[in-house]
């Protein structure tokens, strides 16, 4: 089975994710785009696992999902904290760590 179509789709989704992370200012959308990028990676992993008849890639995809869940917990936690402090929900406003 040829994995190339899956990889192309995965690359496309990844690029959409990157574009979203780099251009959007709403942290919720940034988190969504991050999920897009992770899932693009998952898609590629699963596609290659099928193509090589090897299940290691599927195991990796499961681990990535766990990590993605953790990351969403932290990200949403930060967003809730911002909201509670009545800070603007905008990543560019959160630039106190500037040198």
């Amino acid at each position: 089975m040829d994995a190339s179509w899956f990889v192309v789709l995965s690359a496309f989704i990844f690029c959409v994710g990157i574009a979203g992370v780099l251009t959007r200012r709403n942290p919720l959308v940034v988190l969504l785009c991050l999920e897009l990028m992770l899932n693009a990676g998952n898609l590629a992993l699963v596609a290659f696992a099928r193509a090589h008849g090897n299940h290691d890639g599927q195991v990796f995809a499961l681990i990535v999902m766990v990590i993605a869940a953790c990351e969403v917990v932290i990200g949403l936690g930060i967003i809730v904290a911002m909201y509670r402090r009545r800070l603007p929900i905008d990543v560019d406003e959160m630039s106190e760590l500037r040198g």
Binding site: I18, V21, L22, V91, E96, R98, G99
Partner: protein
């Protein structure tokens, strides 16, 4: 006991005295500290007499331990007890004892009484170490110690600004001499491979031809050391300023003992100077120049102690001339008699200054003859000895130096003539002091003293600047002491007066010559030991000296007693000459222009340009500028925008991926 053991005892006494007085001063009541210090020096003197008895006309070397030993070279802590060093020990400890005795009373009201005696004992210890040294290492140690002791004692009244400056000046010039001595020692050690005197002298005869350039250089460097210590031209400027110290210190260090160390050094290293006649001639010429120069200045300055200080410089010139023309016995004879009469003159001056409540200007003195008969008699005896009045001690010793110089003939005759000329000036300025201090209309202080009241100041003043001084720590008290009222001062001055009168009888040409015979073993290797003027020539020289001395005294009598206005008239007539002499030939100004100011300008340049602009500006400033530029660049990268970091991450990963792709294909 052997002579060597006596040598160690000579050293042990003042060292112990110093330690006891300096560590136990809280426990010593009243004048006990002064008496302990004096007793220690008396012990030293008695040990010197003991060494004299055990000498048997030989040189004894005694070593305590070895500092360093290598294959064929050894540096010991060793002392040399021979006629020359025993003679020096006797003079140093004897005169020092009398000066300690004088100080017990003179310094009594001073706040630093115990400190003073601790310093004084330290000085005597250093001086004895210097004269007893058997090698150049110990000599240098003693040499540096006496310089340090001199610094401590000049700056004794350390709250007096002029005194601390004078101490610094003396120390700096002494260090110039120390450097000369150390470099000379190095040159000699390099060429002869020895440091002890006998080894160096033996090695010098093998290593050097006559007037070898290295040897002449080494001798000239020795002379730098000797001239700095002995205040000869051009390193003399510290001695008049050193008169800021207490008067007994001037008597001890700056007249009787330390300043003669240079004469001792030349006498001790005479085998080198005889191998390098060029250096000896330089020394003789500078000695003569100094004695003429200082005599002219002494005839014009008006500070009583500075007159005596310039007189000291002048008299040391005679000694240097003596030992430089190989008249060792005569030079050391003059060293001894000078120690007697100059210490006496300083003590008399101290007594007069006590009566004047600290004032030192002879313009403000006069008429003390009736008020202070004892001081007057002893001071006049000292002045007679200084003037070389017939049968006084200075008469025999000075004229013996000049007779030897004349006997060497040739160019030396000119030096002798200049010496005789200065002898005339010496008699003049000696009696200028006597006539202006003790004769004439009594000043107020003298009248007070005649009525039994001693002038006291409410607050002491700096005699130089007239500034008011407090009498807390570091100053003399408001009280002053005169010899008429204090028996220790009287005893010391009386003993010295006897010595100043009779001290010359150990060297009457053709009659006694005791001193010369005694010193002979130390100078047995001299090439000139048989070149002596005949007794007839010496007696003729004595006649000339007597005439000049009487003429000088007569001139002083004419100017200062007979025709009172004459001095003022002369001063107005020759105002240019007078100004030149009163300003001490402008030596201080010359050094100020030639050395001090360029050095200060160099310092300002280093501080302003090198330090500020180059070191701080370029080196340190450049380094900080680089770091600052780098960090400010790094700061701009830390924008704080998460999306910017993400973009950076993306580029980084893309770059890495690209690299691996290119690398793998």
């Amino acid at each position: 006991m052997s002579a060597g053991s006596y040598g160690w005892i000579i050293l042990a006494f003042p060292l112990t005295g110093m330690l006891v007085v300096s560590l136990g001063w809280r426990l010593l009541p009243g004048k006990l500290g002064g008496w302990i210090a004096s007793g220690a020096i008396l012990g030293s003197f008695l040990a010197s007499v003991g060494a004299l008895g055990q000498l048997h006309e030989r040189a004894h070397v005694d070593s305590a331990w070895t500092y360093a030993a290598t294959l064929d070279f050894k540096a010991d802590l060793s002392i040399l007890v021979d006629p020359l060093s025993v003679f020096m020990c006797l003079v140093v400890s004897g005169v020092s004892f009398l000066i300690h005795l004088y100080s017990v009373a003179y310094m009594w009201s001073d706040r630093g009484y115990a400190r003073y005696f601790a310093y004084l004992n330290f000085f005597v210890f250093s001086m004895l170490l210097l004269v007893l040294a058997a090698n150049f290492v110990v000599l240098i140690v003693g040499w540096a110690f006496v310089g340090a002791a001199s610094y401590l004692l000049i700056s004794f009244w350390y709250r007096r600004r002029t005194a601390t400056y004078a101490g610094i000046k003396a120390f700096v010039i002494n260090v110039i001499g120390d450097v000369g001595l150390v470099v000379a020692t190095f040159l000699l050690f390099d060429q002869t491979g020895a440091l002890d005197f006998s080894g160096v002298f033996k090695g010098a005869h093998e290593a050097f031809a006559t007037n070898d350039a290295t040897l002449v250089a080494a001798c000239l460097l020795l002379l730098v050391g000797a001239f700095a210590k002995s205040a000869q031209l051009p390193l003399h400027t510290w001695l008049p300023d050193a008169m800021e110290g207490p008067t007994p210190v001037s008597a001890l260090i700056h007249a009787a003992t330390m300043v003669t160390a240079g004469v001792y050094l030349i006498a001790r290293t005479h085998p080198l100077f005889e191998l390098a006649p060029a250096a000896a001639d330089v020394s003789a010429i500078i000695g003569t120049a100094t004695l003429v120069f200082a005599a002219t200045v002494a005839a014009t300055v008006t500070d009583l102690k500075r007159v005596i200080a310039y007189s000291t410089i002048s008299q040391i010139g005679y000694m240097v001339l003596g030992v430089s023309v190989a008249a060792y016995g005569a030079g050391l004879f003059h060293l001894m008699t000078h120690a007697f009469f100059k210490a006496l003159l300083f003590m008399g001056a101290g007594s007069v200054i006590g009566a004047m409540a600290g004032t030192q200007d002879i313009d403000r003195m006069g008429g003390f003859r009736k008020a202070m008969p004892f001081t007057f008699v002893t001071f006049t005896l000292g002045a007679l000895a200084l003037a070389g009045f017939p049968l006084m001690s200075g008469f025999f010793s000075k004229d013996e130096v000049l007779a030897f110089t004349l006997h060497r003939g040739g160019g030396y005759a000119l030096l002798a003539v200049l010496g005789y000329l200065a002898a005339f000036l010496t008699a003049f300025y000696a009696f200028r002091m006597v006539f202006r201090t003790f004769f004439g209309e009594p000043v107020e202080e003298a009248r007070e003293l005649q009525q039994g009241r001693l002038a006291h100041h409410e607050t002491p003043r700096n005699p130089l600047t007239g500034e008011e001084e407090d009498d807390d720590v570091g100053f003399q008290g408001a009280e002053h002491h005169v010899a008429e009222r204090e028996w220790p001062m009287k005893a010391a001055m009386g003993a010295l007066a006897v010595l100043a009168v009779a001290g010359g009888f150990v060297g009457i040409p053709g009659l006694t010559d005791t001193l010369e015979h005694f010193l002979e073993p130390s100078f047995a290797d001299s090439r000139f030991k048989d070149t002596m003027p005949s007794d007839g020539a010496e007696v003729a020289g004595l006649g000339v000296g007597a005439l000049l001395s009487i003429a000088g005294i007569a001139l002083a009598f004419l100017v200062y007693m007979r025709r009172r206005g004459l001095a003022g008239q002369l001063r107005r007539r020759f105002s240019g000459v007078h100004r030149f002499l009163v300003n001490k030939w402008y030596f201080d100004e010359l050094f100020d222009r030639a050395l001090v100011r360029p050095a200060a300008a160099g310092g300002r340049f280093a501080r302003g340009v090198v330090e500020t602009d180059f070191v701080q500006g370029t080196i340190v400033g450049g380094a900080t500028a680089v770091v600052r530029a780098g960090s400010s660049f790094a700061r701009t990268l830390q924008s704080g925008y998460v999306r910017a970091y993400a973009l950076g991450l993306l580029f980084g990963v893309a770059g890495l991926a690209l690299y691996f792709l290119v690398a793998s294909s």
